[in-house]
């Protein structure tokens, strides 16, 4: 694991943790919300992730990709806690007030709904690759799957998502999870 130091390093301070890890909480929460579709559950997931990161911070190799390291912890926590099936009835509330004024509300709703109907693997690669800007190699490490798998998932995910956005009636046809 390239993010981990080969030997126990000098313990890092809380300030360093804030600068290296806590600054990514927005990205983590943004992805967690779309994984769980529930704000409370997403916050719990991000909190678990950051506490684990803090606990193992002495192993983190300074200068490497902290963001990818955190996302790997996030997904490990997500799967370890059996959150795959966690989707509560109070899905992330999208209202005009919750969106920035510069973006069209209906458009954001359509896209977010279409994204939520994708299966978890497809949603994950679109969030990581397209929204968060991770490379295929980074996604491969975060998700512990080969790069070829990431590429094929990304291709299929884009195809499925585009089909949903072109034909909104498909929005109701949920894929098997």
């Amino acid at each position: 694991m390239r993010w981990l130091a080969p030997h126990a390093a000098v313990p890092l301070s809380p300030i360093e943790f804030e600068q290296v890890a806590l600054c990514h909480s927005r990205s983590l929460l943004r992805v967690a919300r779309r994984l769980t579709s529930n704000t409370d559950s997403a916050e719990d997931l991000v909190q678990d992730c950051l506490l684990l990161a803090w606990k193992n911070f002495h192993q983190f190799r300074s200068g490497t990709n902290a963001r990818a390291w955190l996302f790997r912890i996030l997904f490990n926590s997500f799967y370890a806690a059996g959150r795959r099936a966690r989707r509560a009835s109070d899905a992330v509330a999208l209202t005009p007030a919750t969106l920035t004024h510069s973006y069209d509300f209906d458009e954001a709703m359509d896209v977010a709904r279409a994204l939520d109907t994708l299966n978890l693997d497809h949603r994950t690669v679109l969030l990581l690759g397209v929204v968060e800007g991770f490379t295929c190699a980074e996604m491969s490490e975060i998700l512990s799957v080969p790069v070829g798998t990431v590429m094929s998932r990304l291709g299929r995910a884009r195809h499925a998502m585009r089909a949903r956005l072109i034909a909104p009636s498909h929005l109701t046809a949920k894929e098997s999870r």
Binding site: R30, S41, L51, T100, Y103, L115, V131, M151
Partner: protein, 242 residues
């Protein structure tokens, strides 16, 4: 490079991950192939659309950030207590023997409730609790639970403290916390599809007592670290009120 290779390599090309030779071959193909060029342009436009839509949603991390800051800046002993508590709770099932409990007929949801109570109530792991009664009633309503549950389930001598949604053994429960001078008691509620009634079963799981029963379509668990009889009394009181 051929047309069938373009969609395969497009994710790497768009992410700038193709080596120089293959990137050049990819670009060469695009220059001579309007169909692939069109396809890639649509893919780029789609990516932009998705990114803009998701990034336009505000993300408020203030609560999580504050809870993390509280923990990492806390004195070392206190910080260790938080970790120790979390680890202890996660190891709870192992230490008391999950399979031993299951062999005694203890339900997985009762074990999950005891673990949840240990982490969130006994060990005070930071969580986004809701203390506002109206907000809790709205949450109850969303879960198809009677909004009067918060008041009507308040055991004699207790007062409502806080609540939140929690996930136990594959299902969402409304977790209500009531307190008195002796300590806290948690009530976990879930509406179930099957109408049924069952007696109250009390199990001791590690340091907690869990009383579980179903009445009508309401599945209820009462968890407390007080003695088992207290858990049974609380459950009986809740069952009578339901």
């Amino acid at each position: 490079m051929t047309c069938p290779e373009i969609p395969e390599l497009a994710p790497l090309y768009l992410a700038g991950e193709l080596d120089a030779a293959r990137a050049a071959a990819f670009a060469d193909h695009l220059r001579g192939c309007p169909a692939c060029r069109q396809e890639l342009a649509e893919e780029s436009a789609f990516d932009k659309r998705l990114r803009s839509a998701i990034l336009s949603q505000p993300v408020d991390t203030s609560a999580v950030d504050q809870r993390i800051r509280d923990i990492i800046h806390a004195p070392a002993q206190y910080r260790w207590n938080h970790f120790a508590a979390g680890i202890a709770a996660l190891l709870l099932l192992a230490s008391v023997g999950y399979f031993e409990l299951r062999s005694r007929g203890v339900s997985p949801v009762a074990i999950a409730a005891a673990t949840d109570y240990r982490m969130e109530i006994a060990d005070h792991q930071p969580r986004p609790w809701i203390t506002n009664r109206d907000a809790i009633e709205a949450l109850a309503s969303k879960q198809s639970l009677p909004v009067s549950a918060i008041s009507s389930l308040t055991p004699a001598g207790y007062h409502f403290v806080k609540g939140k949604l929690c996930y136990l053994d594959g299902n969402w429960y409304l977790h209500l916390v009531y307190g008195n001078a002796l300590g806290d008691a948690s009530v976990y509620l879930r509406r179930v599809d099957l109408f049924a009634s069952s007696g109250i079963r009390v199990d001791k799981i590690a340091a907690e007592h869990v009383a579980a029963f179903q009445h009508g379509r309401l599945s209820t668990l009462v968890v407390t670290s007080q003695p088992g009889e207290a858990a049974r009394r609380l459950a009986e009181s809740a069952a009578a009120l339901i």
